[in-house]
Amino acid sequence: MLKSFYSGSLELLASRIDRLPRPSLWLGHRRIATLGGAEVQGNPQGKLLGEIMNRKGKLFRLASVATLGASSLIAVSAAGSSSALAAGTPIKIGISLSLSGDFSADGIAFQQGYQLWAKDINASGGLLGHPVSLDIVSDASDPTQVTANYQKLISQDKVALTFGPYSSLLSLPAAQTVSRYGYALVEGAGGAPSVFAAKLKNLFDVSLPVANALQPFAKWIASLPKSQRPKTASYVTSNDPFTQPQIPVAQKIMKKGGIKTVYSSVFPAETTDYTPIADKVAQANAQVVVLGSVDVPTVAAFMKAFAQMHYNPKVFIASAGPDQGTQFTSAVTVKAANGMLVPSSWYGASANPLSKTMVAHFIALHGGTASQISADVAEAYSVGETIAAAVKATGGFDNAKIIKYLHSGVTIKTVQGNVKFNKLGENFSMTAYTFQWQGSNFVQVNPVKDPNSVKIVYPKPSW
């Protein structure tokens, strides 16, 4: 019945659209509307256009109501119907990823993570007996394209579930879009406070909320014996929603520990020439540099400029970039990477049995070593594990039930560790760690008392 009502609405809408003016007049209307009513009345064409505008006003209202109704029906129908799939029918999962543009390196790593999870889950019989099929479309790292992609994935491709894109910048518009259709959006790289500030009920981030990511590092620095503790620090960050909130948290703790801020600055995310900023940091000559970066090229640019300026801080931590495995070392060389620190919640040598299995499967598929695997892979894989647990527990693909289940306070085990969501969809059960490149190995160094942590290399070796 729903389907027939929906198709009837569409026919009605189509018949109304047929009666609309020709495209050239639409263009004329837009121009005149911009210039004001006087021009409409000033010539005969204007009168005609004025009439059309009135007609169109009514038609637009009708069309809007019909579209809204139709959208809601699609949402109800699509979000609810997939639980009644025939046995063995593939289950489609829609994902928008940055396969080109600024986030392409991370987007590709995320794709590897999602694909690896799909391969593993299919090898173990799929989701409730349905083989998983990933419907991945590229968003070119563009928030507008993300919105269009999820609309297409849900309304045209009729995917049963949606996984998140890469970055906080894209996760928010993605979650807003899929929430209109009643879908859950489980994602692994959208942990910025601004994402959760939207208070969406359908959004779940399986990774560590980013605001506190630098806390263990800052606490370690502040707790060093006075004779070893650095005296000065520089803070420089991109104005990206992922990284900027991390810096004040670390700065506050370190300031409390008596570490003086000698330079603090924010640069636009679209910066391409980092030389003057890096020069300024180098001239400040702080013993600690805390860099709020979102990608490898940014960290690489600062590292290169520091080396050229013969500036070697005792401690250099970047909020993202060094956790990207071989992506990082191929850009900066293993020698330069030595001693670089990064906060994260996962690394290739993690003792977590689920992680060990995933790492083994990844290496079997792509080669390389555990240290070379990007943290993005684990973040994406965790998304799959979380949704798999929700599907299994709810016994179907009903998004409303999945959302309810994920909000129920349940703990889900993933390759990154435990996942447990608060009412905002933040994973508040995950621990923040600090990792360091030591030679060609990427190792956990913080929290210091954690049995899996190794001794931190301090001060950082020279470039």
Binding site: D102, A105, V266, T271, D273, I277, K280, Q308
Partner: protein, 295 residues
Amino acid sequence: MSFTNLVHAVIDGILTGSVYALMATGLTLIFGVMDIINVAQGVFVILGSYLSYALSVHFGIDPFVGLLITVPTMFLVGIVVERAFIARLKGPEKTAMSILVTYAVSLVIEGVLNMVFTTNPVQINNASYINSSVHLFGMWLPYIYIFGFLLAGGFLGSIYFMLYRTRFGASVRASLADQTAAALVGIDVKKVSTICFGIGIAVTAAGGMIYGATNAFNASSSYDLISRLLTIIVLGGMGSLAGALVAGISMIILEDIVAVAWSPVWSNITFFILLVIVLSFRPQGLFGKQSARVA
């Protein structure tokens, strides 16, 4: 801000800006002669970066020596692209259509680069001078920026010599001024256009090599580049070689000074405010000709 910081920012701006000016010169030459807005220029720069990277990593060829291979290669790439896609554009919509066509070309090249080199960022690193610097007047100046400046100067000087001291240059300048009149006096405008497109792309090999030695890059780095290059030629005046040089250097100097003296957040904004002011008084840009914009 100390006086040393200011001087450092100005010197950084001159050294870096000259390389951007070189990349933009190719873009403005192509527009001046052919009325083609080549939005693929950014990805051609990255292609040049990757060629230098591949030669240095796989064959151990010094990036500067490698230019003997990459510059002619990029020239040939330019000729092929011009013959295959650009030469087919005709009529009053030619300029507008060129944006779509060159955008399509850039997407194809980006896709191919992603397939061949993956999206992992890389950097041209295996030459000792790339990470070294010289201490002059109380400041460290990286050799790669100094060499980049000299290289850009050499290329720009060569282009100037070609334009003003050779017979072919006279044909180019005649085509720049008026294509119909140039054809009437016997200049093969099609041939001039093809060669100019080749030269415009060839300079990206040099710009790309310096870019790749100073930044970690992947194919998507082209988006940041093209927006900068277009801004430079709009400020300098579309079709003006001198404009590209002056605008390229002044843009980076201004951004660097603002970043050092005030805040990096304001460096781009300040530049665009200046751009709006300049265009309010000179819509054709600093060195552009009004007629060129009307055409």
